[in-house]
């Protein structure tokens, strides 16, 4: 079967969907020798992210092994991660300043 999603680095708490994935999809995602088991809590569109581990509000969101922002509310494993539940650090700082 074609690869359904990819986790770039073992530090990452997000994966990227490589196809449209339905709610309830069970995934075994290999990353740097480990396998992460995730069940999607909601549908995730191609190229969008979902959490592969719980991310608490205020915790950093990681992709490519790098910080891409922080959670604006608690995110459960398998949930879609996007602008509704995370914010970039630069944008957060700018919003605070203004």
């Amino acid at each position: 079967m074609a690869t359904q999603a990819i986790v770039f680095k073992s530090d990452d708490n997000t994966a990227v969907a490589l196809m449209d994935l339905a709610k309830g999809t069970e995934l075994n995602l290999p990353v740097e020798g480990k396998t992460l088991r995730v069940t999607l809590a909601e549908p995730v569109t191609y190229q969008h992210k979902f959490a592969v581990a719980p991310i608490r509000k205020g915790e950093k969101v990681l992709k490519y092994g790098q910080v891409i922002g922080e959670a604006t509310r608690d995110i459960a494993a398998g949930e879609h991660v996007h602008i509704h539940n995370m914010v970039g650090l630069r944008l957060k700082a700018a919003l605070k300043a203004s």
């Binding site: 922002g69 914010v87 630069r90």
Partner: protein, 311 residues
């Protein structure tokens, strides 16, 4: 490793063997186009700049035109312009001639008007194209490759697919003694610390961080809400959630080798390895800067299907 290139008298090598028709001021754009259209191997370089430019714009425009003319992909160059000293066709020609390549100047008033000038220009470009056709490709060392990498129309997978491929290609060119780099300063905002960490020394690191900081400051002072406009609506629809995520995708095209140099727009880098050019985020301006920087090969990845090309 070698590539099949056209050796130039200044020690560089082209991957193309074209004749550049460069207008010194925008009022010569049409005559320049008529000249370039008449010869197969001619390539036209027009722009929107006119007389009355003041520093630093004047300096940047002249440097861009002169350094485009120096690009090793051009065998020879014809400068087309009005006679007025302000646009300085002779000055631009003089700078290009330092490479030893054939350079001719067609000053429209001195030639006796537009139609006469166009005919004279066509004759000159034909002669250069004929001379150029006698040069054959020969094996050239990879050290003569200068590889510019560019991307446009980011998606959440840019960093993993197309830009990763570009970065890998750039790493290969550099590993074999060539050089190359990337540009688009505002696209790096949010990931500049990662590039800066790869700098060969403190000075290069400082300059990398400075060009990004200055650009961010300049955006702020022009009243642009850059952080709320970037990622843009299409990026967000595609799944990019923050400027950091977008920038991290973009910098993958810079590969993994150390950052050796940071240069200003359209400046020719020394070319010791991977370099960064301080340019706007607009693809057309950025690729023009890379070409003026002497890149004889430019790769461009676009998931969003930008139709832009460069001669």
């Amino acid at each position: 490793m070698e590539f099949w290139g056209f050796p130039r008298t200044d020690g560089t090598a082209g991957t193309r063997n074209l004749i550049g028709v460069i207008v010194s001021a925008a009022c010569a754009n049409d005559p320049g186009a008529w000249i370039a259209d008449a010869v197969d191997d001619a390539r036209l370089f027009t722009h929107k700049q006119v007389c009355g430019l003041i520093p630093p714009d004047k300096e940047v425009v002249e440097r861009t035109l002169a350094n485009l003319g120096k690009n090793p992909n051009l065998y020879g160059v014809l400068i087309v312009g009005p006679d007025c000293a302000d646009s300085d066709p002779d000055g631009i020609a003089h700078m290009i001639a330092q490479t030893g390549k054939p350079v001719d100047v067609c000053k429209i008033h001195a030639e006796g008007g537009v139609m006469v000038a166009v005919q004279r220009g066509i004759d000159s470009v034909r002669r250069m194209a004929s001379d150029a056709s006698r040069i054959r490709r020969e094996p050239c060392p990879i050290s003569k490759l200068r590889h510019g990498v560019e991307c446009g129309g980011s998606t959440p997978l840019s960093g993993a697919v197309t830009n990763a491929a570009q970065g890998h290609a750039l790493d290969n060119v550099i590993r074999h003694g060539g050089n190359g780099g990337f540009s688009e300063t505002p696209e790096v905002i949010g990931a500049e610390h990662i590039i800066a960490e790869r700098a060969i020394d403190e000075e290069v690191k400082r300059k990398m961080l400075k060009v990004v900081r200055d650009f961010e400051q300049w955006l702020k002072s022009s009243g642009i809400d850059f952080l709320r406009a970037n990622p843009d609506a299409q990026n967000v629809e595609d799944g990019i959630s923050s400027i950091e995520e977008k920038a991290l995708g973009a910098i993958h095209k810079g590969g993994t080798t150390p950052l050796t140099e940071v240069v200003d727009y359209a400046v020719i880098p020394e070319g010791r390895g991977m370099w960064f050019m301080n340019t706007p985020g607009n693809d057309m301006m950025s690729v023009t800067g890379l070409a003026a920087g002497g890149c004889n090969i430019i790769t461009y990845s676009t998931e969003g299907a930008s139709p832009y090309g460069f001669p």
